[in-house]
């Protein structure tokens, strides 16, 4: 069966420090991968999605970037964190194109990031 791992679960970082959140999926190949963020009082906002290695699409301009160095690995990064980057970050996957790509999103447990 497929599983998704996301770490760390919580993170406290000072303003200006770098960020690296990692997400990996097991039990499937060529998944679509997503990074969502939930800020206080807001819904889940799609930040990035990827349909393949090295293919990253950004939904909103921001201080963050994403990379997909391997098929089942999705990394969310920042060179210098801002206070406004605080929030709850969720990684998700869905089957890739042509194979039940209409199936629901499968979410990780999330990372709570606090920038101080």
């Amino acid at each position: 069966s497929q599983t998704i791992h996301q770490w760390p679960a919580t993170l406290v970082q000072p303003v200006g420090s770098p960020l690296s959140l990692e997400c990996t999926v097991e039990g499937t190949s060529n998944p679509n991968l997503y990074w969502y963020r939930q800020a206080a009082g807001r819904g889940l906002q799609l930040l990035f999605y990827s349909v393949g290695i090295g293919q990253i699409s950004s939904e909103v301009p921001q201080n963050l970037s994403a990379s997909r160095p391997q098929d089942r690995q999705f990394i969310l990064s920042s060179k210098k964190l801002l206070l406004s980057d605080s929030g709850f970050y969720l990684c998700a996957w869905s089957p890739g194109t042509g194979r039940h790509s209409d199936s629901p999103l499968h979410f990780g447990n999330g990372t709570r990031l606090t920038v101080t």
Partner: protein
């Protein structure tokens, strides 16, 4: 612009009472609507989708295009229904390329008291 609105941050009811979690959307085309749920210490997961027209855990939701709503209902709430509920929308253009772009509402926390 595409938007999903859940007007209630918190809905508090007693066990056995009817529940209605409101969801309104803004989308010019034909949307697909979903309800996702997150129970305590569990992951966010799909509860139901309007195209399935099914009842999951006693919950139903009907897409009302005239009122642009997709309210989640259950006739008799149970304590185990306590969770965070998110309404989500996907438009036809969001599915191009085979990826699944969902727009989520802010969520409603349902608290069912004994």
């Amino acid at each position: 612009a595409q938007r999903v609105t859940q007007p209630e941050k918190l809905l508090s009811v007693f066990k056995g009472a009817p529940v209605e979690l409101k969801c309104n959307y803004s989308y010019s085309g034909s949307p697909e609507l979903f309800w996702y749920v997150q129970y305590s210490r569990q992951r966010l997961q799909l509860l139901l989708r309007h195209i399935s027209r099914e009842s999951i855990k006693g919950f139903t939701a009907d897409l009302n295009k005239g009122e642009t709503s997709f309210h989640l209902k259950k006739p008799f709430a149970q304590e185990e229904d306590s969770a965070m509920y998110y309404c989500a929308l996907r438009g036809a253009f969001m599915f191009s390329g085979g990826y699944n772009k969902l727009i989520f509402g802010a969520g409603t926390r349902l608290a069912v008291h004994p």
